[in-house]
């Protein structure tokens, strides 16, 4: 009976994998807000209201000019969005946030109101990794939220395996590292050893506010303020934690697997 039941349930459930990226992306929750947009030209002169409410000091303002919001430090609490008197900082509801260069996460200057999305790996690396990317994940002070929403990509709804992307157990089997957490001092040795154990050429993806810049723990002496302190990073995926869709977008973007329209 049990076997028949199992088969019946299986048939009833059908295929639950989403059609994205061929179909539309699943909608972000309406209160999520997505990536931020900063229109520095709207900043009132001498205004620093947003800086005073930002828990990670992601917003700075030089003596002359508009504010600069570093989306790498941002934990997306939206306190700045709520308080900005001139609506210079707004939410875009856009899930796409992965960038290749750290400076592409800094918003505010004319022409840099939004982040500059990542470009695909060069042809040589794409030839190597484009259809088969194996990643070794290292949590280095991660709170288990980035880890959990990365694990989600392996479930039937997202089915990361269909893109040829897989998280592997050994760094020897990996093409790169996928780092979460602010890189605690106590994980330095383990992270370096894991990085060294991955054969070249290799890529490194820093996922979440912590791995990019230390997240809520920025400045603590017990951490490194992000993975870049120890290893060269090829992609930054902001969020606290990033939505699974944001992570998937980043991975596919890196491999050049997204159509131009997205």
């Amino acid at each position: 009976m049990f076997t028949i039941d199992t088969i019946r349930h299986r048939l009833q459930r059908g295929c639950q994998t989403m059609s994205y990226p061929d179909g539309p992306a699943p909608a972000l929750p309406d209160r999520h807000g997505g990536a931020l947009r900063v229109d520095g030209s709207k900043c009132a002169e001498g205004c620093s209201t947003c800086m005073q409410v930002c828990p990670t000091r992601a917003i700075t303002r030089p003596p002359i000019g508009p504010v600069a919001l570093d989306l790498g430090k941002c934990i997306f609490c939206a306190a700045c969005v709520e308080i900005c008197p001139t609506k210079a900082i707004t939410q875009t509801a856009d899930h796409r946030m992965a960038v290749c260069r750290r400076e592409d996460l800094v918003l505010g200057q004319p022409g840099a109101e939004e982040l500059r999305l990542a470009v695909a790996l060069d042809d040589k690396l794409r030839k190597l990794f484009g259809r088969s990317l194996r990643l070794r994940q290292v949590s280095a002070g991660g709170c288990n939220a980035c880890e959990a929403d990365t694990n989600v990509l392996g479930t039937i709804g997202w089915d990361l395996g269909r893109f040829g992307i897989q998280f592997v157990a050994s760094p020897r089997h990996a093409d790169g590292l996928f780092i979460t957490g602010p890189v605690s001092r106590n994980m330095e040795v383990a992270l370096k050893k894991t990085y060294d154990a991955v054969p070249a050429p290799k890529i490194v993806i820093a996922t979440g506010a912590c791995a990019i810049a230390g997240g809520p723990f920025i400045g603590h002496p017990q951490i490194n303020d992000g993975a870049s302190a120890l290893v060269p990073v090829d992609m930054f995926i902001p969020g606290c934690p990033p939505h699974p869709l944001t992570i998937l977008d980043g991975l596919l973007r890196l491999l050049g697997r997204l159509k131009q329209r997205t």
Partner: protein
């Protein structure tokens, strides 16, 4: 309990003036705490507070049957004191921590080692316990594990397949949370509380908000308490569902593993429906909640909740239908009731060893004063019992949510808190999905934090995993580990 004179009594989520906390020479504090533990109290927190060049010890204990907490402290001292661990092993990690942080040496502690201290880019693990013999071999696992999980080190002493002893060495995730709280609250404090253990965002955020509210002699509006209670059960649903899926995966029972992975996400999305974040970041704030659950949103939540509850119910039924699953779960990784009591297990692990321990029932605060679920207890102490407790709690959280969503209280969602009382101590316990979360705050003369002690349920329960492995095949470690599913970062802080 009523005969207790050494401790000051207080209820969960309340505050005491420091001058009302009894003060004893440290040998008397240790003896008095031991007496209360012998009478059935539990150690919730045991920590040091610097006082000039000296340190005071503070003990927070819980009398579950009497629904009350109790607190006492030592006079400031330095150097050695008689270890509580020598007679009461549930204190063993607390005393190691006090020794590491303040240099107070618990004389007679059988295994005095660092807890989180690092040196040269790794924690100072010290010497591991070793079993000697020609047939004995040692297995070292971690810190980096085979999976998308947090780091920690496991050291097994094995005779063939059989594990004689497991020692767990953590500290890799240490981010300095407690230290950073001194002089706070700071701007980043709330976000740090939400990431003590990211999968327990609502639990820890609620404990922190409750501490601040207690210190202010106030509480959040009822509607906010209601919403926090809903979010806490959604967090429990998501994590328990994920755990059952992971347990199924570890015994290669894929139907439930696949289904629960998906359903877990559905529950996370319900939290995101409330506040935009799948883990509940940004929802709980001192003084209330940041977002409201308006009637239309509440109906949408209920509409999505019902099919997910039905799905998980079905996936759980497949699990228990399968002989192969039952035979792998039953009798694996047993922690006996007496052991569980001695080491002070909390939460799912305690209830699976037949201990009736649930903060929502024993020490109700917030909305749990008005609405309760029956405590889910199962005898056996094995993987099967821990899975059963989760199954029961999924049903009960589901029922709780359905009932509560139907009867929302009216009113504001947030209130402005008065400044925290100076020179006071506040305790908040919250039953997170893993178990008892304990936050204790002490304020200075200006109302800022002098000391803030966080005890994640994992701090009590890692020892349970070590005991569960005794006499087990080492190949059952992943299954046993998953059945506890403890937090590394919640422990490392």
């Amino acid at each position: 309990m009523s005969a207790s004179t050494s401790f000051a009594l207080l209820a969960n989520a309340t505050c005491l003036s420091m001058s009302d906390v009894p003060e004893w020479p440290v040998p008397d504090l240790v003896r008095a705490t031991g007496v209360e533990l012998d009478r059935g109290a539990r150690l919730c927190a045991w920590f040091g507070v610097p006082e000039g060049n000296d340190v005071r010890l503070v003990a927070v204990i819980a009398f579950d049957a009497d629904n009350t907490l109790a607190v006492a402290r030592s006079t400031p001292f330095r150097g050695e004191y008689p270890a509580l661990t020598a007679t009461h092993s549930q204190a063993h990690l607390f005393e190691r921590e006090v020794w590491e942080q303040h240099g107070l040496k618990p004389a007679g502690h059988p295994w005095l080692k660092p807890v989180r201290r690092g040196s040269g880019g790794a924690p100072v693990n010290g010497e591991f316990f070793r079993v000697d013999g020609r047939e004995i071999h040692e297995v070292a696992v971690g810190p980096v594990h085979a999976g998308v999980i947090e780091p920690g080190h496991f050291r097994f002493q094995c005779n063939g397949e059989e594990v004689l002893h497991l020692e767990i060495a953590l500290g890799y995730q240490h981010r300095g949370i407690e230290g950073a709280l001194i002089g706070g609250p700071h701007l980043a404090t709330m976000s740090q509380m939400e990431t003590i253990a990211g999968d327990t965002t609502i639990g820890h955020a609620t404990a922190y908000a409750t501490v601040l509210e207690a210190l202010a002699g106030s509480e959040a509006p009822l509607r906010a308490q209601w919403l926090r209670a809903l979010a806490l059960e959604l967090e429990r649903l998501a994590n328990h569902t994920g755990d059952l899926g992971a347990l199924a995966g570890d015994v290669a029972f894929l139907p439930t593993a696949a289904a629960c992975g998906k359903i877990r996400g559905d529950f996370l999305n319900l939290t995101a429906l409330i506040c935009g974040n799948r883990f509940g970041r940004g929802l709980v704030r001192p003084g209330g909640c940041r977002q409201d659950l308006e009637p239309a949103r509440a109906s949408a939540l209920l509409e999505k909740l019902r099919p997910s509850l039905k799905d998980v119910d079905e996936a759980i039924a497949w699990l228990w239908d399968a002989n192969s699953v039952r035979s792998r779960f039953e009798g694996t990784g047993t922690v006996f009731t007496e052991q569980a009591n001695t080491i002070g297990l909390v939460g799912v692990a305690a209830r699976a060893s037949a201990l009736v321990r649930d903060v929502r029932f024993d020490h109700p605060a917030g909305w749990h004063r008005f609405a309760q679920s029956p405590v889910a207890v199962w005898p056996g102490g094995d993987v099967s019992a821990r899975a059963k407790v989760r199954c029961l709690e999924i049903q009960r959280s589901g029922t709780f949510l359905e009932e509560q969503l139907a009867t929302p209280p009216e009113g504001d969602i947030r209130t402005n808190l008065p400044a925290p009382n100076p020179d006071s101590l506040a305790v908040a316990l919250v039953e997170g999905w893993r178990g008892e979360i304990c936050h204790v705050a002490l304020t200075d003369a200006t109302g800022c934090f002098r000391c803030y002690k966080i005890t994640d349920p994992s701090f009590h329960n890692w020892t349970g995993l070590a005991l569960a492995l005794r006499g087990q095949a080492i190949s059952d470690f992943p299954l046993c580990n998953k059945s506890f599913n403890l937090s590394y970062c919640g422990f490392d802080l």
